[in-house]
């Protein structure tokens, strides 16, 4: 259950920006989480609500953009979106594709802050 650790890390990283800008409050946190990042969005939301209590992120909305796995197929010569995270084959031509372009992201894209 490491979503609690992840949520704590979100607060730590967000607070760097909050302190730098001297913001009074954060109203939203926008995340980008890839399907291969191994983080469950629901567990993360729950953990986020817990760890933000008493901080300037308390009450902030958590928006999570869940990114699919995208790989490069060298036979089709293009990026393809994989329907599953555990089957690295091109959905168009079935060629094995191990070149991952997207899917491992675990990022804070932006914050909505009150100054």
């Amino acid at each position: 259950m490491h979503e609690l650790s992840i949520a704590t890390s979100i607060v730590d990283v967000a607070m760097e920006t909050v302190d730098r800008l001297n913001a009074s409050r954060v109203s939203a946190v926008n995340l980008r989480i890839g399907r291969l990042a191994g983080v469950d969005a629901d567990a993360l939301r729950f953990s986020f609500d817990v760890v933000t209590q008493g901080t300037r992120l308390e009450g902030a909305a958590l928006a999570i953009a869940e990114l699919p796995v995208v790989a490069f197929c060298d036979r089709c010569d293009r990026d393809v979106e994989l329907p599953a995270a555990n089957f690295m084959h091109c959905p168009l031509c079935d060629q094995v594709t191990g070149i991952i372009r997207q899917g491992k992201e675990l990022e804070i894209a932006s914050l909505e802050i009150d100054e």
């Binding site: 259950m1 490491h2 650790s5 992840i6 890390s9 979100i10 730590d12 990283v13 967000a14 760097e16 920006t17 800008l21 009074s24 109203s27 995340l31 291969l36 990042a37 191994g38 983080v39 995270a85 555990n86 089957f87 690295m88 084959h89 094995v96 594709t97 191990g98 991952i100 491992k104 675990l106 990022e107 804070i108 894209a109 932006s110 914050l111 909505e112 802050i113 009150d114 100054e115």
Partner: protein, 222 residues
């Protein structure tokens, strides 16, 4: 009072990643090859590592280990039987090791006096995948008792590791282990992943592991 959107574009685990990068630099300049072993609980990491440490020491290599568990120092005691220096980290509830845990133990070792440092992670195929420990090689282990489709259930971990090792191969017949199915599963989830099959107990397949270790180390520290 105004509200505005501020771009951050930072990794959530930025702090761990920065610590891990520092560790990686330290390890590189000290010439120590670091291996992170991950698996479910009960796969056989400790037995595998104990045999590895014994072998390395018997062949004039200098090796040490850091082992993480929620509780007990049982694994550290077992590993110490090899004669290698070992440190036990108890997380008391955290399900994975982080770079900070590793950094805290390095004072016990003279890094420049080591050829290898092994990290036996907390038994867990989920959470350790997200945490860079500064290692040069990440090995995911799974035993013949765990089911051939195990890799399909844990794509994140298999995609974060460099090598897969199938353990307890001496039990394969008793488990009716389908090696071809296991290899297919690993290749479906991580095409081209290097796969070893071995038994720490009988020694079968361990030579290939020792050779892999040696080659990997030489590639980094020629």
């Amino acid at each position: 009072m105004t509200t505005r959107i501020v771009e951050v574009r930072a990794g959530i685990l930025k702090k761990n990643d920065e610590l891990a990068r520092d560790l990686r630099r330290r390890f590189e300049s000290a010439g120590v090859f670091v291996v992170n072993l991950v698996s479910s609980p009960g796969t056989g990491k400790t037995a595998f590592l104990e045999h590895t440490l014994s072998y390395l020491l018997a062949h004039g290599r200098r090796a040490a280990a850091i082992v993480g568990d929620l509780e007990t120092d049982n694994d550290a005691r077992r590993l110490a039987r090899s004669g290698a220096p070992v440190r036990q980290v108890n997380t008391h509830g955290r399900c994975h090791l982080e770079a900070e845990n590793i950094g805290a133990e390095l004072g016990a070792f003279g890094l420049t006096d080591l050829d290898y440092l092994f990290i036996e992670n907390v038994g867990n195929l989920v959470c350790p995948s997200s945490y860079d420990l500064g290692e040069a090689l990440r090995v995911v282990l799974l035993s013949v008792t765990e089911g051939e489709d195990k890799p399909l259930k844990y794509p994140t971990m298999f995609n974060s590791a460099d090598v897969a090792i199938i353990t307890k191969i001496d039990l394969a017949a008793a488990c009716e282990f389908d090696a071809a199915a296991a290899h297919r599963a690993i290749n479906d989830v991580r095409p081209g992943m290097r796969i070893l099959e071995l038994s720490a107990k009988t020694g079968q397949g361990m030579d290939a592991w020792y050779a892999l270790l040696d080659d990997a180390r030489r590639a980094r520290h020629p």
